[in-house]
Amino acid sequence: MATLDYFRQEKLPHIWCPGCGHGAITGALVRAIEKLGLDKNKVVIVSGIGCSSRAVGYLDFDTLHTAHGRAIAYATGIKLARPDLKVIVMTGDGDCTAIGGNHFIHAARRNIGITTIVMNNEIYGMTSGQYSPMTPTGMLGTTAPYGNVERPFDLCKLAIASGATYVGRASAYHVPLTIDLIEKALQNDGFSVVEAISGCPTYLGRKNKIGGPVEMLDWIKDQTVNVKAAAALPPEKVAGKILIGELYNEAAPEYAASYKELVGKLQRRYDSYIGEVRECASNSD
């Protein structure tokens, strides 16, 4: 199957601005799915609200564009109800780490089998450039006119500390790495997180005078260092850099499978009122 076959081509072109990194990241997800040869009919892609979350409308799967911050909670219901499906969340930095932060850490804690792609453009793009929990300190946003006073999350550290079993970071500049990390994340049974740094030339770039799309990608490249390369570098060369690459990969019991196992142990026919009216076999997983 060709890469474009995973798209709803009649829904293109997309709504993103010229130079936005979200297209490269969406493309990376599709290429990872293609490499793994996943069945289009057994993949559900869920998103929240924001620029990133519009990606799902272009993808030819069962797709769910939910409410702001709630993608992972919807996805939790889908995965638990149908553990056989591959469930992917596409979200942004505001959607995932501000309004949706609680769902993110709890899904990680449960290690439920959801692959979460965080398209981190470090700004609220859809509402035109307010600072997010991922905006670096000091940068300008429309609600940070004097520079962002707050400190940003290290999302990957948050994911690891919360219990995610596969965590990696890449960017719209590092497309082959993004594909590779998403491919591995999709193969992990538990909760996986790939943070993909995405340039927003329209709002973050313009407001902070970073430049156009190309300068934005250079800006991302210059800040990042691969975790493997970093291991061989002196500390002063790594200080202040954003680590990219595979940051965590440790297997642990996956929640929906553990619950299914519990059901297997308990499940039996009842002769009392409760349960009698149903056939156990009617449950599809």
Binding site: N41, D62, H65, T66, G77, I78, L85, H103, L266, Y270
Partner: protein, 386 residues
């Protein structure tokens, strides 16, 4: 003893009603006075191949049941005031995207944290208008423990049939009160399931006649590859900004309920035909109201009783019909006047509509309603500790 006769509380009956209706999936967050429902679901669902999850909050809970429902499962959550407030945004999502879910709200005293272990009926208007925008919603109010079974069962049937969120609006007294309940023979029960398409070819998830048709709903994971969005969408399910498409959509989803009032609306009455004074009530307040009406009748007062089992859509026709005989309609509810506003809206002024409210966390005493029937209540509110 018949195995279907049991002593149980309302929350238990809600759970059994849900299981009888084919509940597959429960997600919830602990909150008094609804928690027994979650506890019982956590125990029973895995035994019958279902799923239970305790989410991190009530927003996550309703999100999870919407997700589960999209896979074809029958899904429910239960909560009380503060949690119900948190769920409002996604009640609208369920309404617009036409995803069947059932929400049990065991009402407690509010606003805010209020009085968690005490009863109230203050969420009537919230159940109708709590989420933003014009939207269809159904709310049912059980008046006893057996009805918790019946109306939760019915809630699933209506949710599946009309693809709407259905709210079971009970209260702390109904939820925790224990009664002897005779459950229907399990073999007599007929479950309702949403209509599904038979083939992905040409599937349009939101195609239906504009006069309130209910579109066919495909489960996720079965090859339909359809799109769901809380943005206004066209028949194919994709976002639209066309005024005509938006107008058709919002009118159609509301008509689903408006066109099926006979199927949805239910009520109970006693001594209504020749009554001059009608006490209209619902939920636990109606137990006290019925007792007061019977006492008045015994004394020769032409009192009648109407108990609403459906609160939304509002049972306009039966309430309007009261004016053919009633001179006074007393609306007894544990709030400062919510259902009474609807009664005033649908009547013409021929009968005097009287508000009888109580918000001190105590159930109505039948005496209080009896005194109202006799015209002895000076204020329209029953005050605390009187």
């Amino acid at each position: 003893m018949d195995k279907n006769v049991k002593l149980m509380q309302g929350n238990e009956a809600c759970t059994i009603g849900a299981l009888a209706a084919g509940l597959d999936f429960y997600a919830g967050y602990p909150i008094t006075p609804s928690t027994e429902i979650a506890e019982m679901c956590s125990e029973e669902l895995p035994k019958i191949g279902g799923r239970f999850i305790q989410m991190e909050d009530e927003i996550g809970s309703i999100a999870a049941i919407i997700g589960a429902s999209l896979t074809g499962k029958k899904a429910m959550t239960a909560t009380s005031g503060p949690g119900f407030s948190l769920m409002q945004e996604l009640i609208g999502y369920s309404s617009l995207c036409e995803i069947p879910i059932v929400i049990v709200n065991v009402m407690r005293v509010g606003p805010s944290t209020g009085m968690p272990t005490s009863t109230a009926q203050g969420d009537v208007m919230q159940a109708r208008w709590g989420t933003h925008g014009d939207h269809p919603v159904i709310a049912l109010a059980p008046g006893n423990v057996r009805e918790c079974f019946d109306l939760t069962f019915k809630a699933f049937a209506l949710a599946e049939k009309y693809r709407v969120p259905v709210i079971v609006l009970t209260d702390e007294v109904i939820g925790h009160m224990r009664e002897k309940v005779e459950l229907p023979d399990p073999h007599s029960i007929k479950q309702t399931r949403r209509k599904a398409p038979t083939s992905p070819a040409g599937y349009k998830p939101y195609a239906a006649d504009p006069d309130g048709g209910v579109p066919l709903m495909a489960p996720f994971g079965e090859g339909y590859r359809w799109h769901v969005t809380g943005l206004f969408h066209d028949e194919a399910g994709f976002p639209t900004s066309k005024p005509q498409v938006a107008d058709t959509l919002i009118r159609r989803i509301n008509r689903k309920v408006e066109k099926n009032l006979d199927d949805i609306i239910d009520y109970a009455s006693e001594s209504l035909e020749d009554s001059e004074i009608v006490v209209l009530s619902f939920g636990s307040s109606a137990m006290s109201a019925l007792s007061a009406v019977r006492r008045a009748r015994k004394e020769g007062i032409k009192a009648g009783f109407l108990r609403l089992k459906t609160l939304w859509p509002f049972p306009e026709e039966v309430v309007k019909s009261l004016e053919s005989h009633a001179k006074r309609i007393i609306v007894a509810e544990m709030n400062l006047g919510q259902v009474v506003l609807e009664v005033e809206r649908v009547t013409t002024g021929k009968a005097k509509v009287e508000r009888l409210g109580k918000v001190n966390s105590e159930l109505f005493h039948p005496e209080e309603i009896y005194r109202a029937i006799k015209g002895e209540v000076q204020n329209r509110d029953i005050r605390g500790n009187n």
